[in-house]
Protein backbone atom coordinates (compact mmCIF):
# COMPACT_ATOMS: atom_id res chain seq x y z
CA UNK A 1 0.00 0.00 0.00
CA UNK A 2 1.38 3.31 -1.02
CA UNK A 3 1.95 5.59 1.91
CA UNK A 4 1.44 9.29 1.38
CA UNK A 5 4.76 10.86 0.56
CA UNK A 6 4.33 14.08 2.42
CA UNK A 7 1.76 16.64 3.32
CA UNK A 8 2.40 18.58 0.14
CA UNK A 9 -0.68 18.35 -2.06
CA UNK A 10 0.03 16.46 -5.27
CA UNK A 11 -0.90 19.47 -7.39
CA UNK A 12 2.34 21.21 -6.52
CA UNK A 13 5.05 20.55 -9.10
CA UNK A 14 8.00 18.43 -8.00
CA UNK A 15 10.30 20.09 -10.52
CA UNK A 16 9.90 23.65 -11.61
CA UNK A 17 12.23 25.77 -13.70
CA UNK A 18 11.58 29.48 -14.03
CA UNK A 19 13.36 31.44 -16.70
CA UNK A 20 16.46 29.30 -16.34
CA UNK A 21 19.60 30.06 -18.27
CA UNK A 22 23.16 28.83 -18.13
CA UNK A 23 26.14 29.87 -20.17
CA UNK A 24 29.44 28.25 -20.92
CA UNK A 25 32.74 29.45 -22.21
CA UNK A 26 33.36 28.72 -25.84
CA UNK A 27 37.08 28.10 -25.40
CA UNK A 28 37.67 26.46 -22.08
CA UNK A 29 41.25 27.53 -21.81
CA UNK A 30 40.54 31.15 -22.49
CA UNK A 31 41.87 34.06 -20.53
CA UNK A 32 40.38 34.38 -17.15
CA UNK A 33 40.95 36.92 -14.47
CA UNK A 34 40.03 37.26 -10.87
CA UNK A 35 37.47 39.90 -11.62
CA UNK A 36 35.11 37.84 -13.74
CA UNK A 37 35.58 34.86 -11.47
CA UNK A 38 34.01 36.73 -8.62
CA UNK A 39 31.49 38.66 -10.63
CA UNK A 40 27.98 38.09 -9.38
CA UNK A 41 25.70 36.20 -11.73
CA UNK A 42 24.20 38.43 -14.34
CA UNK A 43 22.27 38.10 -17.52
CA UNK A 44 24.81 39.78 -19.72
CA UNK A 45 26.66 37.48 -22.03
CA UNK A 46 30.33 38.24 -22.10
CA UNK A 47 32.46 37.76 -25.18
CA UNK A 48 33.60 34.18 -25.64
CA UNK A 49 30.58 32.80 -23.90
CA UNK A 50 27.34 31.37 -25.17
CA UNK A 51 24.04 30.48 -23.57
CA UNK A 52 23.60 26.71 -23.52
CA UNK A 53 20.08 27.21 -22.25
CA UNK A 54 18.05 30.36 -22.00
CA UNK A 55 14.61 31.30 -20.73
CA UNK A 56 13.60 27.74 -20.00
CA UNK A 57 10.40 27.56 -18.01
CA UNK A 58 8.38 24.46 -17.26
CA UNK A 59 7.14 22.41 -14.35
CA UNK A 60 6.60 18.74 -13.75
CA UNK A 61 3.99 17.06 -11.60
CA UNK A 62 4.63 13.98 -9.55
CA UNK A 63 4.39 10.78 -11.57
CA UNK A 64 4.87 12.38 -14.97
CA UNK A 65 7.22 10.81 -17.52
CA UNK A 66 8.94 13.35 -19.70
CA UNK A 67 11.18 12.85 -22.71
CA UNK A 68 13.68 15.49 -23.77
CA UNK A 69 14.26 15.68 -27.50
CA UNK A 70 16.77 17.64 -29.54
CA UNK A 71 19.86 17.33 -31.64
CA UNK A 72 23.29 16.91 -30.15
CA UNK A 73 24.57 19.96 -28.32
CA UNK A 74 21.22 21.67 -27.87
CA UNK A 75 21.34 21.54 -24.08
CA UNK A 76 19.56 18.29 -23.23
CA UNK A 77 22.18 16.92 -20.89
CA UNK A 78 22.74 20.34 -19.38
CA UNK A 79 19.04 20.48 -18.58
CA UNK A 80 19.27 17.15 -16.77
CA UNK A 81 22.32 18.30 -14.86
CA UNK A 82 20.49 21.43 -13.77
CA UNK A 83 17.62 19.35 -12.46
CA UNK A 84 20.06 17.02 -10.68
CA UNK A 85 21.77 20.02 -9.15
CA UNK A 86 25.29 19.22 -10.32
CA UNK A 87 25.51 22.50 -12.20
CA UNK A 88 23.95 25.77 -11.09
CA UNK A 89 22.02 28.17 -13.33
CA UNK A 90 23.34 31.63 -14.20
CA UNK A 91 19.82 32.98 -14.46
CA UNK A 92 16.46 31.92 -13.11
CA UNK A 93 15.52 29.39 -10.48
CA UNK A 94 15.55 25.60 -10.46
CA UNK A 95 13.33 24.14 -7.79
CA UNK A 96 13.30 20.42 -7.13
CA UNK A 97 11.28 19.47 -4.09
CA UNK A 98 12.06 15.76 -3.97
CA UNK A 99 15.13 13.57 -4.09
CA UNK A 100 16.69 12.71 -7.41
CA UNK A 101 18.27 9.47 -8.60
CA UNK A 102 20.46 10.53 -11.52
CA UNK A 103 21.37 7.92 -14.11
CA UNK A 104 23.99 10.31 -15.45
CA UNK A 105 27.61 9.24 -15.64
CA UNK A 106 26.52 6.39 -13.44
CA UNK A 107 29.90 4.73 -13.17
CA UNK A 108 31.45 7.99 -11.95
CA UNK A 109 31.26 7.17 -8.27
CA UNK A 110 32.89 3.77 -8.51
CA UNK A 111 36.43 3.33 -7.28
CA UNK A 112 38.72 0.97 -9.19
CA UNK A 113 40.60 -0.38 -6.22
CA UNK A 114 37.63 -1.26 -4.05
CA UNK A 115 35.55 -4.41 -4.37
CA UNK A 116 32.09 -4.43 -5.90
CA UNK A 117 30.59 -4.79 -2.45
CA UNK A 118 32.39 -1.73 -1.06
CA UNK A 119 31.49 0.23 -4.15
CA UNK A 120 27.79 -0.57 -3.82
CA UNK A 121 27.76 0.66 -0.23
CA UNK A 122 29.75 3.75 -1.13
CA UNK A 123 27.70 4.87 -4.13
CA UNK A 124 24.32 4.09 -2.61
CA UNK A 125 25.44 5.82 0.58
CA UNK A 126 26.52 8.95 -1.27
CA UNK A 127 23.09 9.10 -2.83
CA UNK A 128 21.60 9.15 0.63
CA UNK A 129 20.76 5.53 1.49
CA UNK A 130 21.44 4.31 4.99
CA UNK A 131 23.44 1.18 5.68
CA UNK A 132 20.33 -0.70 6.69
CA UNK A 133 18.53 0.20 3.49
CA UNK A 134 21.49 -0.99 1.45
CA UNK A 135 21.75 -4.21 3.45
CA UNK A 136 18.13 -4.90 2.63
CA UNK A 137 18.64 -4.33 -1.10
CA UNK A 138 22.12 -5.66 -1.58
CA UNK A 139 21.13 -9.09 -2.91
CA UNK A 140 18.53 -7.57 -5.21
CA UNK A 141 21.15 -5.24 -6.65
CA UNK A 142 23.65 -8.03 -7.25
CA UNK A 143 20.99 -10.29 -8.77
CA UNK A 144 19.85 -7.55 -11.07
CA UNK A 145 23.37 -6.90 -12.30
CA UNK A 146 23.98 -10.66 -12.64
CA UNK A 147 27.42 -10.52 -11.09
CA UNK A 148 26.98 -12.67 -8.00
CA UNK A 149 30.37 -14.32 -8.64
CA UNK A 150 32.21 -11.02 -8.61
CA UNK A 151 30.99 -9.43 -5.40
CA UNK A 152 34.44 -9.42 -3.84
CA UNK A 153 36.38 -8.67 -7.01
CA UNK A 154 38.01 -5.25 -7.32
CA UNK A 155 35.88 -3.06 -9.55
CA UNK A 156 38.68 -2.53 -12.05
CA UNK A 157 38.70 -6.22 -12.98
CA UNK A 158 35.09 -6.17 -14.19
CA UNK A 159 34.29 -6.01 -17.89
CA UNK A 160 32.93 -2.69 -19.10
CA UNK A 161 29.48 -4.22 -19.53
CA UNK A 162 29.48 -5.46 -15.94
CA UNK A 163 30.55 -2.05 -14.71
CA UNK A 164 27.55 -0.39 -16.30
CA UNK A 165 25.24 -3.16 -15.12
CA UNK A 166 26.20 -2.84 -11.48
CA UNK A 167 26.05 0.95 -11.68
CA UNK A 168 22.57 0.89 -13.18
CA UNK A 169 21.46 -1.67 -10.60
CA UNK A 170 22.58 0.56 -7.73
CA UNK A 171 21.18 3.86 -8.95
CA UNK A 172 17.88 2.36 -10.04
CA UNK A 173 17.42 0.92 -6.55
CA UNK A 174 17.67 4.31 -4.87
CA UNK A 175 14.65 5.34 -2.88
CA UNK A 176 14.34 8.62 -4.71
CA UNK A 177 11.03 9.77 -6.19
CA UNK A 178 12.55 11.38 -9.29
CA UNK A 179 14.63 9.46 -11.83
CA UNK A 180 16.76 11.13 -14.47
CA UNK A 181 18.01 9.01 -17.35
CA UNK A 182 20.62 10.23 -19.80
CA UNK A 183 21.28 7.86 -22.69
CA UNK A 184 22.51 5.11 -20.40
CA UNK A 185 20.10 2.68 -22.00
CA UNK A 186 22.23 2.65 -25.10
CA UNK A 187 24.74 0.39 -23.40
CA UNK A 188 24.66 -3.25 -22.43
CA UNK A 189 23.47 -6.22 -24.41
CA UNK A 190 19.94 -6.61 -25.63
CA UNK A 191 18.76 -8.81 -22.78
CA UNK A 192 20.07 -6.43 -20.13
CA UNK A 193 18.63 -3.43 -21.91
CA UNK A 194 15.22 -5.06 -21.88
CA UNK A 195 15.66 -5.66 -18.16
CA UNK A 196 16.46 -1.99 -17.63
CA UNK A 197 13.34 -1.02 -19.55
CA UNK A 198 11.21 -3.26 -17.42
CA UNK A 199 12.82 -1.80 -14.32
CA UNK A 200 12.01 1.72 -15.43
CA UNK A 201 8.41 0.72 -16.15
CA UNK A 202 8.22 -0.79 -12.68
CA UNK A 203 9.46 2.46 -11.19
CA UNK A 204 6.95 4.45 -13.20
CA UNK A 205 4.16 2.18 -12.05
CA UNK A 206 5.36 2.84 -8.51
CA UNK A 207 4.59 6.54 -8.94
CA UNK A 208 8.08 7.83 -9.71
CA UNK A 209 8.69 10.86 -11.84
CA UNK A 210 10.82 10.15 -14.90
CA UNK A 211 12.94 12.54 -16.91
CA UNK A 212 14.63 10.93 -19.89
CA UNK A 213 17.00 12.09 -22.60
CA UNK A 214 17.17 9.81 -25.61
CA UNK A 215 17.61 9.73 -29.34
CA UNK A 216 15.61 6.56 -29.56
CA UNK A 217 12.01 7.32 -30.54
CA UNK A 218 10.78 3.88 -29.58
CA UNK A 219 12.08 4.36 -26.03
CA UNK A 220 10.55 7.77 -25.78
CA UNK A 221 7.15 6.57 -26.98
CA UNK A 222 7.32 3.61 -24.66
CA UNK A 223 7.86 5.60 -21.45
CA UNK A 224 6.78 9.16 -21.98
CA UNK A 225 3.53 10.99 -22.37
CA UNK A 226 4.99 14.47 -22.49
CA UNK A 227 7.95 15.78 -24.42
CA UNK A 228 10.25 18.79 -24.30
CA UNK A 229 11.90 19.88 -27.51
CA UNK A 230 15.12 21.83 -27.13
CA UNK A 231 16.69 23.68 -30.02
CA UNK A 232 19.60 26.13 -29.88
CA UNK A 233 19.24 26.47 -26.14
CA UNK A 234 15.58 27.35 -26.20
CA UNK A 235 12.64 25.29 -25.09
CA UNK A 236 10.77 25.31 -28.40
CA UNK A 237 7.91 23.00 -27.66
CA UNK A 238 6.40 21.47 -24.53
CA UNK A 239 3.58 19.09 -25.32
CA UNK A 240 2.48 15.50 -25.88
CA UNK A 241 5.41 13.33 -26.92
CA UNK A 242 3.83 12.52 -30.30
CA UNK A 243 3.63 16.19 -31.24
CA UNK A 244 7.15 16.84 -30.04
CA UNK A 245 8.59 13.95 -32.03
CA UNK A 246 6.60 14.96 -35.10
CA UNK A 247 7.95 18.50 -34.96
CA UNK A 248 11.50 17.25 -34.37
CA UNK A 249 11.28 14.90 -37.33
CA UNK A 250 9.80 17.69 -39.42
CA UNK A 251 12.73 19.95 -38.76
CA UNK A 252 15.66 17.59 -38.57
CA UNK A 253 14.49 14.02 -39.05
CA UNK A 254 14.94 11.80 -42.02
CA UNK A 255 11.94 12.03 -44.31
CA UNK A 256 9.84 8.96 -44.00
CA UNK A 257 8.85 7.29 -47.25
Amino acid sequence: MAAPVSTVPSTLPVISLTDVGIRFRRNRRGRRNFKDLFAARNRRSRPGEFWALQNVTFSVQRGEAIGVVGRNGQGKSTLLKLVTGVVLPDAGVVKVTEGVAPLIEITGGFVDDLTVRDNVYLTAGLHGMTRKQIDARFDEIIDFAEIADFVDTPYKHLSSGMKVRIAFAVISRLEEPIILVDEVLAVGDKAFREKCYRRIEELLAGGRTLFIVSHNERDLRRFCKRGLYLDKGDLVLDGPIEDVLARYNDEYGVKRT
Binding site: M1, A2, A3, V5, S6, I22, F24, R25, R28, R32, L37, F38, R41, K81, T84, G85, V86, V87, L88, D90, E98, G99, V100, P102, I104, E105, I106, T107, G108, G109, V111, D113, L114, D118, L122, G125, L126, H127, G128, T130, A136, R137, E140, E175, P177, E202, L203, A205, G206, G207, R208
Partner: protein
Protein backbone atom coordinates in the same frame (compact mmCIF):
# COMPACT_ATOMS: atom_id res chain seq x y z
CA UNK B 1 9.88 -8.27 -3.14
CA UNK B 2 8.41 -5.38 -5.01
CA UNK B 3 6.63 -3.50 -2.30
CA UNK B 4 9.52 -1.13 -1.76
CA UNK B 5 9.21 0.36 -5.24
CA UNK B 6 5.63 1.41 -4.76
CA UNK B 7 6.20 3.48 -1.66
CA UNK B 8 8.26 6.59 -1.84
CA UNK B 9 9.57 7.33 1.63
CA UNK B 10 10.05 10.89 2.77
CA UNK B 11 13.52 12.23 3.41
CA UNK B 12 14.55 10.41 6.58
CA UNK B 13 17.35 12.68 7.65
CA UNK B 14 18.15 16.28 8.21
CA UNK B 15 20.57 18.00 5.82
CA UNK B 16 23.22 18.09 8.54
CA UNK B 17 22.96 14.34 9.14
CA UNK B 18 23.23 13.72 5.40
CA UNK B 19 26.27 16.00 5.24
CA UNK B 20 28.06 14.00 7.92
CA UNK B 21 26.97 10.74 6.38
CA UNK B 22 28.48 11.65 3.00
CA UNK B 23 31.56 13.19 4.55
CA UNK B 24 32.17 10.09 6.62
CA UNK B 25 31.60 7.74 3.67
CA UNK B 26 34.13 9.55 1.50
CA UNK B 27 36.66 9.80 4.29
CA UNK B 28 36.36 6.11 4.98
CA UNK B 29 36.73 5.42 1.29
CA UNK B 30 39.93 7.49 1.18
CA UNK B 31 41.44 5.63 4.08
CA UNK B 32 40.29 2.26 2.84
CA UNK B 33 41.70 2.83 -0.65
CA UNK B 34 44.99 3.96 0.81
CA UNK B 35 45.31 1.00 3.11
CA UNK B 36 43.89 -1.72 0.88
CA UNK B 37 46.42 -1.04 -1.85
CA UNK B 38 49.58 -0.93 0.26
CA UNK B 39 51.16 -3.66 2.32
CA UNK B 40 52.43 -1.41 5.10
CA UNK B 41 49.15 0.48 5.35
CA UNK B 42 49.02 2.43 8.58
CA UNK B 43 52.79 2.50 8.93
CA UNK B 44 53.22 4.74 5.92
CA UNK B 45 51.37 7.52 7.66
CA UNK B 46 53.79 7.42 10.60
CA UNK B 47 56.87 6.43 8.66
CA UNK B 48 56.96 9.72 6.82
CA UNK B 49 57.11 11.98 9.91
CA UNK B 50 59.42 9.50 11.63
CA UNK B 51 61.97 9.60 8.85
CA UNK B 52 61.81 13.39 8.75
CA UNK B 53 62.10 13.64 12.51
CA UNK B 54 65.03 11.24 12.38
CA UNK B 55 66.82 13.39 9.81
CA UNK B 56 66.34 16.64 11.72
CA UNK B 57 67.23 14.99 14.98
CA UNK B 58 70.47 13.72 13.43
CA UNK B 59 71.36 17.01 11.78
CA UNK B 60 70.62 19.20 14.76
CA UNK B 61 71.83 17.07 17.62
CA UNK B 62 74.62 14.95 16.12
CA UNK B 63 76.08 17.13 13.36
CA UNK B 64 75.49 20.66 14.63
CA UNK B 65 75.53 21.88 18.15
CA UNK B 66 71.83 22.44 18.80
CA UNK B 67 70.86 25.62 20.58
CA UNK B 68 67.20 25.80 19.55
CA UNK B 69 64.14 24.04 20.90
CA UNK B 70 64.05 21.97 24.02
CA UNK B 71 65.12 18.56 25.21
CA UNK B 72 64.33 15.84 24.43
CA UNK B 73 64.62 17.30 20.95
CA UNK B 74 62.95 14.36 19.18
CA UNK B 75 59.77 14.90 21.22
CA UNK B 76 60.02 18.64 20.60
CA UNK B 77 60.26 17.95 16.86
CA UNK B 78 57.50 15.39 16.62
CA UNK B 79 55.02 17.45 18.61
CA UNK B 80 54.98 20.00 15.77
CA UNK B 81 55.97 17.75 12.88
CA UNK B 82 52.94 15.47 13.19
CA UNK B 83 50.42 18.34 13.05
CA UNK B 84 52.47 19.88 10.25
CA UNK B 85 52.06 16.63 8.27
CA UNK B 86 48.31 16.99 8.69
CA UNK B 87 48.27 20.60 7.48
CA UNK B 88 50.72 19.97 4.68
CA UNK B 89 49.01 16.79 3.47
CA UNK B 90 45.52 18.24 3.53
CA UNK B 91 46.42 21.49 1.78
CA UNK B 92 48.48 19.83 -0.94
CA UNK B 93 45.71 17.26 -1.54
CA UNK B 94 43.21 20.11 -1.74
CA UNK B 95 44.93 21.38 -4.86
CA UNK B 96 43.51 18.31 -6.60
CA UNK B 97 40.26 18.08 -4.64
CA UNK B 98 38.07 18.85 -7.65
CA UNK B 99 40.23 17.61 -10.48
CA UNK B 100 40.70 14.12 -9.09
CA UNK B 101 37.06 13.52 -8.29
CA UNK B 102 35.59 15.31 -11.31
CA UNK B 103 33.53 12.30 -12.41
CA UNK B 104 31.97 11.83 -9.02
CA UNK B 105 31.28 15.53 -8.57
CA UNK B 106 29.51 15.60 -11.92
CA UNK B 107 27.16 12.80 -10.88
CA UNK B 108 26.26 13.39 -7.24
CA UNK B 109 24.63 16.33 -5.59
CA UNK B 110 26.24 16.37 -2.17
CA UNK B 111 27.26 19.76 -0.74
CA UNK B 112 30.47 20.70 -2.50
CA UNK B 113 32.40 21.71 0.60
CA UNK B 114 32.57 17.99 1.40
CA UNK B 115 35.22 17.57 -1.29
CA UNK B 116 37.56 19.74 0.74
CA UNK B 117 36.45 18.79 4.23
CA UNK B 118 36.88 15.08 3.67
CA UNK B 119 40.58 15.68 2.97
CA UNK B 120 40.92 17.68 6.18
CA UNK B 121 39.14 14.90 8.03
CA UNK B 122 41.06 11.96 6.59
CA UNK B 123 44.43 13.62 7.16
CA UNK B 124 43.22 14.55 10.64
CA UNK B 125 42.40 10.94 11.37
CA UNK B 126 45.89 9.95 10.26
CA UNK B 127 47.26 12.59 12.61
CA UNK B 128 45.29 11.23 15.55
CA UNK B 129 46.41 7.73 14.60
CA UNK B 130 50.02 8.91 14.74
CA UNK B 131 49.77 10.37 18.26
CA UNK B 132 50.77 7.04 19.89
CA UNK B 133 54.16 7.46 18.20
CA UNK B 134 54.60 10.79 19.97
CA UNK B 135 53.55 9.18 23.25
CA UNK B 136 56.03 6.35 22.68
CA UNK B 137 58.95 8.73 22.17
CA UNK B 138 57.88 10.84 25.13
CA UNK B 139 57.91 7.75 27.33
CA UNK B 140 61.24 6.47 26.00
CA UNK B 141 62.99 9.84 26.36
CA UNK B 142 61.29 10.70 29.60
CA UNK B 143 59.50 13.87 28.53
CA UNK B 144 57.17 14.97 31.25
CA UNK B 145 53.49 15.29 30.47
CA UNK B 146 51.79 18.25 32.12
CA UNK B 147 48.48 20.08 32.23
CA UNK B 148 49.12 21.60 28.80
CA UNK B 149 47.89 18.35 27.30
CA UNK B 150 44.38 19.63 28.02
CA UNK B 151 44.95 22.22 25.27
CA UNK B 152 45.27 19.48 22.64
CA UNK B 153 41.55 19.63 21.73
CA UNK B 154 41.76 23.41 21.33
CA UNK B 155 44.77 23.00 19.06
CA UNK B 156 42.90 20.44 16.96
CA UNK B 157 39.85 22.69 16.64
CA UNK B 158 42.03 25.63 15.58
CA UNK B 159 43.90 23.50 13.09
CA UNK B 160 40.68 22.16 11.56
CA UNK B 161 39.47 25.74 11.17
CA UNK B 162 42.67 26.90 9.54
CA UNK B 163 43.16 23.87 7.29
CA UNK B 164 39.57 23.88 6.08
CA UNK B 165 39.80 27.61 5.42
CA UNK B 166 42.97 27.33 3.37
CA UNK B 167 41.61 24.26 1.58
CA UNK B 168 38.36 25.99 0.63
CA UNK B 169 40.41 28.88 -0.70
CA UNK B 170 42.89 26.81 -2.69
CA UNK B 171 40.65 24.07 -4.11
CA UNK B 172 38.43 26.17 -6.39
CA UNK B 173 41.18 28.55 -7.49
CA UNK B 174 43.39 25.70 -8.72
CA UNK B 175 40.60 24.70 -11.14
CA UNK B 176 41.07 28.01 -12.96
CA UNK B 177 44.74 28.64 -12.40
CA UNK B 178 46.52 25.32 -12.73
CA UNK B 179 49.86 26.97 -11.98
CA UNK B 180 48.62 27.49 -8.47
CA UNK B 181 49.11 23.79 -7.80
CA UNK B 182 52.88 24.14 -8.07
CA UNK B 183 52.86 27.50 -6.34
CA UNK B 184 51.08 25.96 -3.36
CA UNK B 185 53.71 23.22 -3.12
CA UNK B 186 56.40 25.87 -3.09
CA UNK B 187 54.64 27.99 -0.50
CA UNK B 188 54.19 24.93 1.71
CA UNK B 189 57.88 24.18 1.55
CA UNK B 190 58.64 27.75 2.53
CA UNK B 191 56.07 27.60 5.29
CA UNK B 192 57.73 24.54 6.75
CA UNK B 193 60.81 26.57 7.59
CA UNK B 194 58.82 29.71 8.39
CA UNK B 195 56.86 27.85 11.08
CA UNK B 196 58.21 26.87 14.47
CA UNK B 197 58.78 23.17 13.77
CA UNK B 198 62.51 22.59 13.97
CA UNK B 199 62.83 25.60 16.24
CA UNK B 200 60.54 27.49 18.57
CA UNK B 201 59.28 31.06 18.18
CA UNK B 202 61.28 31.94 21.27
CA UNK B 203 64.48 31.22 19.34
CA UNK B 204 63.66 33.98 16.86
CA UNK B 205 65.26 37.42 17.19
CA UNK B 206 63.12 39.90 19.10
CA UNK B 207 61.30 41.78 16.36
CA UNK B 208 60.61 38.63 14.32
CA UNK B 209 59.01 37.15 17.39
CA UNK B 210 56.08 39.53 17.02
CA UNK B 211 55.52 38.86 13.33
CA UNK B 212 55.80 35.10 13.73
CA UNK B 213 52.53 35.19 15.64
CA UNK B 214 50.79 36.11 12.38
CA UNK B 215 51.61 32.70 11.05
CA UNK B 216 48.61 30.91 12.57
CA UNK B 217 50.62 27.70 12.76
CA UNK B 218 52.86 29.30 15.43
CA UNK B 219 50.02 29.54 17.89
CA UNK B 220 48.66 26.13 17.04
CA UNK B 221 52.03 24.39 17.41
CA UNK B 222 52.68 26.19 20.68
CA UNK B 223 49.45 24.68 22.01
CA UNK B 224 50.48 21.16 20.97
CA UNK B 225 53.93 21.62 22.46
CA UNK B 226 52.69 22.88 25.78
CA UNK B 227 51.74 19.27 26.57
CA UNK B 228 55.43 18.51 27.14
CA UNK B 229 57.07 21.93 27.29
CA UNK B 230 54.99 24.41 29.32
CA UNK B 231 57.38 27.24 28.40
CA UNK B 232 56.37 26.93 24.76
CA UNK B 233 52.85 28.11 25.44
CA UNK B 234 52.53 31.60 24.01
CA UNK B 235 49.06 33.06 24.46
CA UNK B 236 49.82 36.02 22.21
CA UNK B 237 50.56 33.68 19.28
CA UNK B 238 47.50 31.61 20.12
CA UNK B 239 45.29 34.71 20.14
CA UNK B 240 46.56 36.09 16.86
CA UNK B 241 46.59 32.60 15.34
CA UNK B 242 42.97 31.98 16.31
CA UNK B 243 41.89 35.24 14.75
CA UNK B 244 43.86 34.41 11.60
CA UNK B 245 42.38 30.91 11.44
CA UNK B 246 38.84 32.21 11.69
CA UNK B 247 39.64 34.86 9.09
CA UNK B 248 40.99 32.18 6.73
CA UNK B 249 37.86 30.11 7.20
CA UNK B 250 35.62 33.10 6.47
CA UNK B 251 37.65 34.03 3.40
CA UNK B 252 37.69 30.40 2.24
CA UNK B 253 33.94 30.02 2.60
CA UNK B 254 33.38 33.30 0.76
CA UNK B 255 35.66 32.42 -2.15
CA UNK B 256 34.25 28.91 -2.31
CA UNK B 257 30.66 30.13 -2.47
CA UNK B 258 31.44 32.73 -5.11
CA UNK B 259 33.37 30.40 -7.40
CA UNK B 260 31.27 27.24 -6.96
CA UNK B 261 29.11 27.95 -10.02
CA UNK B 262 32.09 28.42 -12.27
CA UNK B 263 33.95 25.42 -10.85
CA UNK B 264 31.06 23.09 -11.64
CA UNK B 265 31.05 24.22 -15.25
CA UNK B 266 34.78 23.89 -15.61
CA UNK B 267 35.34 20.34 -14.35
Amino acid sequence: MNSSFATVPPQQRTPLARYWHSLWLLTRRDLRVRYSTSALGYFWSILDPLVMAGIYWFVFTQVFERDVGESPYIVFLLSALLPWMWFNGAVSDCTRAFLREAKLIRSTRIPRTIWVNRLVLSKGIEFVAAIPVLVLFAVVYGAELNAGVLLFPLAIVLQVTLTAGVGLLVAPLVVFFRDLERAVKLILRFLFYASPIIYSTRDLPGDLHFWAAFNPLSGIFSLYRSAFFPDQLDWFSVGVGSAMSVAFLALGLFVFARTERAVLKEI
